[in-house]
Amino acid sequence: MEGASHQRFPTVKIRELKDDYAKFELRDTDASIANALRRVMIAEVPTIAIDLVEIEVNSSVLNDEFIAHRLGLIPLTSERAMSMRFSRDCDACDGDGQCEYCSVEFHLRAKCLNDQTLDVTTRDLMSSDPSVVPVDFADSSSGFDNPENRGIIIVKLRRGQELRLRAIARKGIGKDHAKWSPAATVTFMYEPEIHINDDMLETLAIEDRISLAESSPTKVYDYDPITNRVVVVDPEAYTYDDEVIKKCESLKVPGLIEIHPKEDSFIFTVESTGAIKASQLVLNAIDILKQKLDAVRLSEDTVEADDQFGELGAHMRGG
């Protein structure tokens, strides 16, 4: 079972990196790998989210299931998730999903005692594990503009209203429920290659050159008044809208500008919900994809069964 290898050696260049945002170039591979990475980042990289809520007292205006749903959607810091167990295959707790290997417990107690409305936020959620807490946007590099950080509001209480509950957070993936998805957005685009034919440009009047540069809805081209030429300033601003191609045709110079997507170069943007760092999200996605590939390898008994069949087949064919 030894064949020639047709392996590729992809290259990566990181352009911009923040805790919850990454932009990078992926080259020397094809769209199938880029798309597989994108799909895995959205639906198969595990995080931790609240999955079970036991409500002791709830006299707020929101009903129990409404609050349980809101709790589920709160992003929790999930660096631990990759090494945690799924509660369905945890043998330490007979699958009830309440042991330290597969779950994290939260408690919330809030009661409004005065005339001012009380905001119950993620800051009131008390975690049993200091490494799994609601995401705090205040210290992330992008941050919210809000000077007083209050966390995410869960419910508002009036005088005399009370909320008391216990919640269990578990490991899960976005395929199960979107609350477990660590990705806010993941996109990739083909890198465009733009060629301007300067000889054909010569045949155009100055005002036509200016209108050509301005015909793109995004700022891809500029008119240089010194050399009288149209130049490409930002090829990546091109949205594959074909507007300049149409403009060239209407100016009776089809082919003046030619644009080709480079089919082996991609520009990725990854935004995280804050559950894990954007850079870690990419690395985890590669790991998960490797695990998935490992799982689809042929098992020994399949190969053996075929070997026997092969002899039988050769026999039947008269071999």
């Binding site: 199938s32 690395l283 998935k292 075929d306």
Partner: protein, 116 residues
């Protein structure tokens, strides 16, 4: 109230094989692989990797129905190879490619964190 459990989309049921293999009865060196609980993520990268192999005459995959959580990969090769050999080679090559990609990304990450 009779909705199937959500985990049925990605947990292989007990007693079911992850990958099963079926030879084509009429064409030599043609076979179908049924992969349980996988989708376009695995199907498409396998297909594209198989296309890089010159001994593969045909490689395609289908997701028969959105509520049947399996894909079928069909491979037809020349007599120099076999569908099983091509399949194993494709999985190995993809695995090595991802190893390389991981190292490349980690190296870039280290470089990036030094610069800033």
């Amino acid at each position: 109230m009779n909705a199937p459990d959500r985990y049925e989309r990605f947990v292989v049921p007990e007693g079911v094989k992850k990958v099963s293999y079926e030879r084509d009865t009429k064409i030599i060196n043609a076979a179908s692989f049924t992969v349980e609980r996988e989708d376009h993520t695995i199907g498409n990268i396998l297909r594209m990797q198989l296309h890089r192999d010159p001994d593969v005459l045909f490689a395609g995959y289908k997701l028969p129905h959105p509520l049947q959580y399996k894909i079928i990969v069909r491979i037809h090769t020349t007599s120099q190879s076999s569908p099983m050999q091509a399949y194993n080679q494709a999985v190995n090559d993809l695995d090595k490619e991802l190893d390389h990609l991981k190292n490349a990304f980690e190296a870039e990450l280290a470089k990036h964190s030094r610069e800033y």
